[in-house]
Structures are given as structure tokens and as C-alpha cells.
Symmetry: C3
Subunit: 423 residues, 3 copies
């Protein structure tokens, strides 16, 4: 549990809130590159940390990320004309370049040079790893981009998809570092008798793993120890990276990575990014197709026209009770729908004063402490330092079968493995 | 009228409010038995007095009525698996029995016995008279069930149906003890020229009845005197029973009873229960069918999938102005739709400071005084006593034609009749 | 820009607010005559200045404009029966005449004469110029009706249509006195190369007009000077008349007038009236048809069943990006849809602290000053005087081509023209 005051401190992300200010000191993934597919394409609306923006790609392919409303009389620039090197407001024709400077103001007599009196309304942007990034924090503290593995592989090695979830970003994130739910929420009823893999069998057989929670410079390393064979343990190392990145343990062969980004849209909405990548090879078409379709999709009900799930709280996430009785633990189709059902069901912002946390929740407790401490440090006037080093994000989440004799945190073998985490 | 402060006191029902605490000292009808049709069936969500719950029927047929969210990390138990003798949360597999005790906690190492540290999340329940009852008040003051006649007759003698109304429970209830509206809201235009019965003719001919309002141990007896034949009066006795039961006068032969229960869902929503029963014989299939269908249905637009009416404030309750001009007083189909139109039209909580109450509103004034006094008594530390005796609810609402010479409150004849009210 | 305090003062219109009280001292256009087409027709709901009303036409054709809820127990009179000379509540049959007096109270014994104790719930009304007017201000200060030209011409010389817009009335009005947006928001891309008229060419060629803003007894005269031919200026005179009337410059031949009325429904909604009229001849059927249809409609998406536009903020006003690239400046069909997109896009009440106003905004600045000063005068106890004289509204908005040698504000020629403004 968390007291009500710390819960508020941790969850509120609007301008001027402590957590909002901490978050603003990081680069924000705001769009997938394909959302702005070509120069002079249609602009996009973006809501981020309780503020509204418009994003566009100019004639050179540069990304503009501007305040949503024209500084003149607050007409929405989203309706604007994406013209030669700038977005022109439909109301009075003011035109803004990708940096947000007003470069044409036809409604005003030229001799007054009024356009020079209007400060630029743009923010720094980057395009990297298939992602459009924006930075809306203090302009004298622009950090490095996080050098996540999935941003550094070739485009054909990764897949990005995102959707909007109706709850606070912290409880959304918690669902991903909560490793013990894997043995329940996402399981099939025949998993114990007909496990799909050796790993799955180990996970089903040992539903109460032992945890090592290790704070790091980038966030927290979460190591779960499960019984594997008689003389071995099955180790799964997940990662949580400030302020809202998660990576789930790769397969034993370290060929496929899975990660999420939990970008706060506002206090009560989160853009959930789902990333799948390989460090070694292109993804197959079947893998890509299986993300939004097939018998066990990652997301089963994405509505591309709204960016939301068709399965919602009000339709009970299309839960099929017959399927729940006979095939899957939940009767809800889609890994993300399963997670969304439980985290949205907590309410827009979970009331953490009423929880009863067990040993399986130590990762969640550690992440909350990290976030609350960051916000408190900010209130006390201290700026976060570490996340500015993009290289810290070169870490990997892995799984491994190790002899039971090895002391995970002390052994040379693990030190060696820990070394490989930075890739 | 009522001052704003007393109106708030009377209408607010959430945890910690005086009226909410008074209401919590009674058993609450929460579901019709058929809503949980068989052991291990699908659970149901229930919202009651501003709080959320989940109800389920276990493998023995016992009813569990639990807090809506798992005490672990607040996932909704509604999605849970109704397994062998317990409801299992889909998030981490915690399982709760019908009493709300956590009987399995597979995500935690067994040796910690963490499950014993989690207090039960269930409430007392009963199943009686076709109704599932729950009690969410102080556990040392559980009252007797109210021994309402319709609960004591065989199942085939009664019919229960309910729907959700979008206003406070008090104004919903007022509509049922407001006997003078019967001659208007629910009438046909040809009633005067072609009355359906002798009683109907009396009601149409005497639209301003004289009232005797008698506070009782269980609530209020409301006696309306109308002119009948030259030497007789037509008496209709309605009943209001704490905290939200109403019974409308039976026919002259005392063969059919009609009642409502107005259960507060929260400050601005009410579950309206409609009960029809006979003390002497099974209801006919035609009677049952006429409740939701036919030319003059009790409810015309119930949507079983939502439990709400299809006729709403925003579609003007499907009022047909041509029918209003030519056939019925309102042009609105359905007795409940007619009542709902006026009580929802007052706003979510009626502003009683702007009313002008007449003599015909004495029953409403008396009920408000009863409710407000109950809440004030609670504030002053006094607990309600009477309603704990279930036998007080063995009262009946009746109608009778009596000689004009009889003094209703004093005569032996009426004392004898009053005796028959307790059945 | 405007500070936050003045912005609140200017925009809030509910009972008891300073601006709300100023507005209540004027007649309010509430319905088009055809909305109540004949005696004893169906009543209409009206929301005005944050309050709810019901309007009906009685058996003599008189208009009743009453409080929305019955003074008895607050049932909505809208559902009422429009009977012989009065509207009868469906709940208990109380009947009110066009003045709002309770003329029948069948639910109460006649001898108590309770109906005389209920004060009338009606307000003064007028029907004039095709418009139903109501006055809800202090009854000892009823002003004259505004003698607008379009109210004084024969019915076949004018066309009235209205719709409901989801923003405050001030920003809605601003859009109409903001003459510089005409060269952008409502233009076709081929206007410069193939202008539809001489005036259109002048407007496209000179997008930064010079302004003369002249406060008057009735509001503000807004004169825009544009270059026309080598030795002439093109003058367009628009009018803003207290508290929410606008008139756009007539064509050069002064044959067609265009005006709007921006009636505050509540703080965040405005009823927009669109008026087209001729001072000299009947409108053609083609003109009338072109208002809601055809290739360049004034309103393209009116839903008569709701009085709202089908093009909304949430569907991006049905903007067609291809049309925007190839044909029109906005890709939004309908002059009103274009204006609505920008003014609703500012938010329900525009945040005027973040604007950057230029010389082209002097009319808007003047109108705000007029409104804010009116509200401040009211706070200081001064009543508005001028608007009570209906003759002040006999002004016209005109356009003219004048020699560049004429000093607009000083010349006899203009004095003469100004004389013609009062028609």
C-alpha cells in the first residue's frame, strides 16, 4: 500500500506537478514514424502529460512538435495547412516552421513586424528507432536519447504498435513488472498438462518465484528465480527503466525481446507502446501478423481509427465466460486486453491505500519508491542526473537456466552475464 | 419544500453520510434470485449506496457478496473464475469463499501464511422470497429480514422485475406515495366516460382525496378518502415502510398486491423493484406477460442487457404527442416510464427549496420528516430500533368501500380492518 | 489578451453573474416563430443564460415562456398537455396560462384556493420579425424590442435558421467581427486567380485591411479599408450591437444583408442564429435552398432533430484533407462549420491570457472592452441605458467603393453615407 499523499505525488503528471516535472526532463515517444508517413502529410494531434500539441512533418521531412493552439487567437493548428516548410493556421493564415517560429503573418501589415514579437511555439524533436520523440522540459537540460536496443536494430528487426488506455501510467506500468501474474492472467487452462515450452512448464509449476530486486542507475533490475530441473533454477530478468520503460525477459536463446513504453497522456490516460524486436534477425511476417491477429494476439481489439481498444470496461472486455470455463484463465482475448481489464478495473487512479502487498509485489514496491523519491527529490530542488546518459539504456532483459549452486548476485558466472546485459 | 441542508441530509447515501449509515442498518435487496441462476454461475456486479460489490453463487448454492476489488492489488473480482467453492481473481489467482475469506493465495510462498493476514471481504447474505439480500452495516447489529407478504407467498404467487433509474431514491419513492397523481399521470382520456372499473370511476370523479397520514412503527400508513356512492367512501390505504418499501392499495377483493422497492445505488441512481403478488393464488401467465408488454404495460421499454429503460430523458421518454392528444394523459407508454419521466425530470436530486406543497402532499411531507428525523437521530447518536423486528413488515395495503357514517380512525369496524392489515 | 479575472467576468452568464445580469436586461430571441407553428401545438424546451424554460403557444396564438419545472413538485412542464388556453402538467394536472398563472389545480380541494398562493412562473414575450422573444430580467425595466432591419421587412424578404454551438457566446461572437479571417478561413484556393466578384478580388489582394473602430450608442461600428482600384478604397462596415448581434457588410448594391445573433444558452453553449435578408425584395427559393445545401452552404451539416451540427470537434468537422490541398483553404464544408471548428477548438471558454493580438484584432479588443465595462458598470451599480431604445438598432452594415481622397471619418460624403446607415 501507499499513503494517499504519496499516491497523488506519484500519479499526477500535469504541468507544475512534481512528477510531471520529473517526467518532462526525459524525451517522450510521441508518435510512430509511420504516423507522419511523408513530407507535408496530414498533421496529428498529440496529448502528452496533460497538455495538447500538434505534430507535423515538413517539406524536408523534419518533424515539428508545436503547442496545439495558434498563439494568435487560439485556433487549433491541427486543422492547419501543411504547406511548403510550415504549418499554416486556417483561421488567419499564420504559418509556423518545424521549430515553431512564425514565418508568415499575412493578416498583419508587414511593416509592424508583429511576427517577430511572437515567441516560437515549438519543442525539440528527434526521429530515431522508428519513433518520433519530443522534449517539452527545460530547454537548458535536453538529455540524450535513451539508447534502447530496439531503437538500434534495423527497422525490419522490430515492430511498434500503440493504443490508448484509460488509466494512470503508474498502474499501467506496474502490470508489466508484476511478474507473478504471468502464471495466471495470461495462461491457458491446459498449460500444466500440455505446456507450450520448457519455460512455460517451469512457470506453471512454480507460481511463487523468489525475487531479487536491484536498484540501478537506469531504474530497477527484477530477477525472478523459479525451480526448473532438479538441479537448476530458471532465472528471468526484467527491467524497468526511468521513467516508464519496461522490458520483459527474452527467451532462453535471447532471440526475441518484448518491451512496453507507458507514456502518460494525462493523469487518467496512458499511451501504451508495444515493442517486439530481435537483436539478430528480421521479424517474420507471421510474427508481425500475430501481434494484432491470430489465435493468441498481443492485442485483439485495436480500433485503428481511434487508437483505442474495442474491448472496454463497459463491455467487460468482451469476456467470454464459456471460454473462461474451458480454455483460458480469463476468457478475455488478447494479452493487452487481459492486462487492461485488471488495471483499468482499479479505477482511473488506483486507490493504493487499500492494497495488501505480498512478497510477490517487491518489484512494484521498489518502482514506487523510485518514482516517489524522484518526485520528492525534485520538490527539494534536486535534478535527476542519471537518465541523461543515453548509454544507460543499452541494457537487456534476459532469461537463463542456471545451476542451483550458483549464488546469483555473487557468482562470477552471473557477473559475466550481467556484463552481457549491456549490449 | 425542504431547506437545502435537510435535503442534502435526506438524499446523500454514501459511506459516512448520516442517511447512508441509517440505510446500512437494514437488509438490502440486491439481486433477484434468478440473476444468479445456479451454483458456480457467472458473477454479477452490484453497486449499492455508492459502493461497488460483486455477487456470486458458490458450488453449494451459497451467495457471496464481496467488495468489488481484490484486496491484493485492486483487480475487479467480477472477472473472476467462479470455481469449486470460491471466486478466484484472474490477476494473481487469489480465491475467496462465499464469506469473503481468502482460501487460496498461489502467488505467495505458502510458508508465509500471508492469506491469513488479509481480512475477509464478504458481507452477510440471505436468499428469501425470490430475493438475494445483503447486509453491509455494522456486523454487531444485523437485523431480521423484513417479513413482507410477497416474500412469504409461494414463488408462483409473485413476480419480480427491476430496472435502474437515474435519480435519487427519495424522489423516486415520493412518486409512489403521492396518491393524488394517479388521477392524472397514469390515466386514459376516456376514463371518465368509460372507466375500466367502479374504483377507477371513483378515482376519476374525486381527484382531490382527503388524507389521513398515520406514522407507525414500520413507517407511515397513508389513507385516502374519496367519495364513492352516495352514502359510501372509497378508502385506499397505501404503506411506506422504512427505509424504502412502498405498497399500493390492493383491489377491493384483496386479491392482488402491488409494491415497489427503491434501493439507492448511489446519490443519483436508484434500483426500482416492481413486485406484483397475490396472497391467495398463482399469478396467471397473462398477468406476468402484461408487466413488460401488452397494451398497458407496467414497464414498456426495459432493456434486459443494461437493466435500464430505453425511454430516457434525452429521448423525452418516447412521448407520442398524438397519443397524448387522443388517448392518454401523457402520451408516454408504460406506468413506470410515466413516473420516471417526472421524477428524473426534477434533476438527479430534486431541489426541494423551490416546491409548493399542498394538502395532497401530506404523505410526502410525513415521509420526509420520518427520513430526516432518522438521519438526525443517527447524528445525535441514537440507533434506529423498530425496523429490526421483521414482523412489523407483515402489514398490507388495502382498499375498501365504507359507509360515510364510519369515523375511519375511531370506529370498531376500522379497528377490525386495521387488524387484518397484519397478515 | 485579457487577464483571467476579466475573462471570467465577460464570459459567465448564469443567474447572479454580472454579465448574466447585464444580458438579462435585453430581450432574448429564443425561438423561430415556426418552432411553435400553430395554436395549442407541442411545447418546446429552451435553455437560456444557464436557466431552463418551456415555451408554448396557447389557443389564441399567445406565447407562454415559463420556468421549466412545475412549481408544485418540479415535474417538467415540457411533457405537459397544451390544452384550451394553458399548459397542464402531466403529474398532478396543474394548468398554467401564457402569463404563467396557475389557472387550475385539480389535485387540491377548491376551497383552499391554494392556486392563488403560487406566484406566476411566466415571463414577458413578444413575437415580431419571425422571432419569439422573451424577457427574463427585472420586470420594472422591460426595454423596447431592437428594431433590427430584418425584423421590419416582410417575412418573404428574410430567412432565419439557428443551431447550437458548444462554446461560450463571446468567442462565438468574436468570430463574426474578426474581419481579417475572411481572406483565409472561408476562401477557395482559386480565389486569387478566378475571383467570384470584384469585391472578392479586392479582399484577396489586400489581406491586411486598415481598421476604424468607432464605439457607438448601440455597440461598435467596424470599418475596414482595403485597396480597391488604383484611386479607390473598398470600405466594409460591419456592426456589433449590444449585447450579441452582428451584421456583416452588405454587397455594394446594398441588396442583401447577413447577420448573426449569438444567444448564450449557458457558459459553454451558444445558440447561433443566421439571418439573411433583403431590404428591397423577396429572397429567391435558390437563395433559401443555398443556406443549408448546395456547393457552398452557409451550414452544411445541421441535424434538425437535435439542432446541432453533425460536424463536430470529435469528428474533426468532417475535414477533407484532399479538398483542403486542392480546393478550399480548410477542407471543411460550410461557412458555419469553418467558424465553428476554430471557435470550439479554443475550448469551451477560450483562455485569453495566452493570446497575441495584432492590429487586425482591434475590433475584438473594442468589443471585449465594451462588454467588460458593461459588466463592471453593473457591479458598481450603474444600469445600462442606451439599449432600451429600440430605434438604435435601425442601423445597417454596408460596403462601398470610395475615392482614396476622402477622409472616411471627416468627409461630407461619409457623413451622408453614415446617415443612410439608419434605415
Amino acid at each position: 500500500m501507499l499513503n494517499a499523499q504519496d499516491n497523488e505525488l506519484m500519479c499526477r503528471v500535469g504541468p507544475g506537478t512534481p512528477m510531471g516535472e520529473v517526467l518532462r526532463r526525459f524525451w517522450q515517444p510521441v508518435l510512430i514514424s509511420e504516423d507522419l508517413p511523408h513530407p507535408d502529410c496530414d498533421p496529428k494531434e498529440v496529448r502528452l502529460l496533460g497538455e495538447d500539441f500538434v505534430a507535423f512533418r515538413d517539406s524536408d521531412g523534419e518533424i515539428g512538435f508545436l503547442e496545439a493552439l495558434c498563439p494568435h487567437r487560439r485556433a487549433p493548428l491541427f486543422y492547419g495547412r501543411n504547406e511548403e516548410h510550415g504549418l499554416r493556421c486556417i483561421y488567419h493564415g499564420w504559418k509556423f516552421d518545424a521549430a515553431g517560429a512564425c514565418v508568415d503573418m499575412p493578416s498583419e501589415p508587414a511593416q509592424y513586424e508583429f511576427s517577430k514579437k511572437v515567441r516560437p511555439i515549438g519543442f525539440p524533436t528527434r526521429e530515431w528507432g522508428g519513433i518520433i520523440w519530443a522534449y517539452i522540459g527545460p530547454q537548458d537540460r535536453v538529455p540524450e536519447l535513451p539508447e534502447l536496443e530496439y531503437c538500434r536494430v534495423p527497422a525490419e528487426y522490430r515492430n511498434l504498435v500503440k493504443y490508448n488506455q484509460e488509466c494512470n501510467f503508474v498502474q499501467a506500468t506496474e502490470g508489466d513488472i508484476d511478474s507473478s501474474h504471468i502464471g495466471f492472467l495470461h495462461t491457458r487452462l491446459d498449460q500444466k498438462t500440455a505446456p507450450a515450452s520448457k519455460e512455460m512448464l517451469w512457470r506453471v509449476n512454480d507460481q511463487a518465484p523468489r525475487w531479487i530486486i536491484q536498484p540501478t542507475d537506469y531504474g530497477i533490475m527484477l530477477a525472478a528465480q523459479r525451480n526448473a530441473e532438479e538441479d537448476t533454477y530458471y532465472w528471468r530478468i526484467n527491467q524497468w527503466l526511468m521513467p516508464y520503460y519496461t522490458m520483459i525477459a527474452m527467451d532462453l536463446e535471447q532471440k526475441r525481446g518484448h518491451g512496453h513504453i507507458w507514456v502518460p497522456v494525462d493523469d487518467e490516460h496512458t499511451d501504451v507502446w508495444c515493442v517486439i524486436w530481435s537483436p539478430v534477425e528480421p521479424l517474420t511476417q507471421a510474427e508481425r501478423d500475430g501481434i494484432l491477429g491470430g489465435p493468441n494476439p498481443h492485442i485483439s481489439s485495436l480500433d485503428p481509427s481511434t487508437g483505442k481498444l474495442r474491448a472496454t470496461k463497459s463491455n467487460h472486455f468482451l469476456q467470454d465466460r464459456h471460454v473462461q470455463r474451458t480454455q483460458t484463465f480469463t476468457g478475455i482475448l488478447g494479452v493487452r486486453e487481459q492486462d487492461t481489464a485488471v488495471v483499468e478495473g482499479m479505477g482511473a487512479i488506483a486507490d493504493r491505500t487499500k492494497e495488501h502487498l505480498g512478497t510477490s509485489d517487491s518489484a512494484i514496491i521498489a518502482m514506487r519508491r523510485y518514482l516517489v523519491n524522484s518526485a520528492k527529490a525534485f520538490v527539494e530542488g534536486r535534478e535527476p542526473q542519471e537518465p541523461y546518459d543515453g548509454g544507460l539504456y543499452r541494457v537487456r532483459a534476459w532469461s537463463y537456466e542456471l545451476s542451483r549452486n550458483i549464488d546469483f548476485m555473487e557468482s562470477d558466472k552471473v557477473r559475466e552475464l550481467m556484463g552481457t546485459m549491456v549490449v
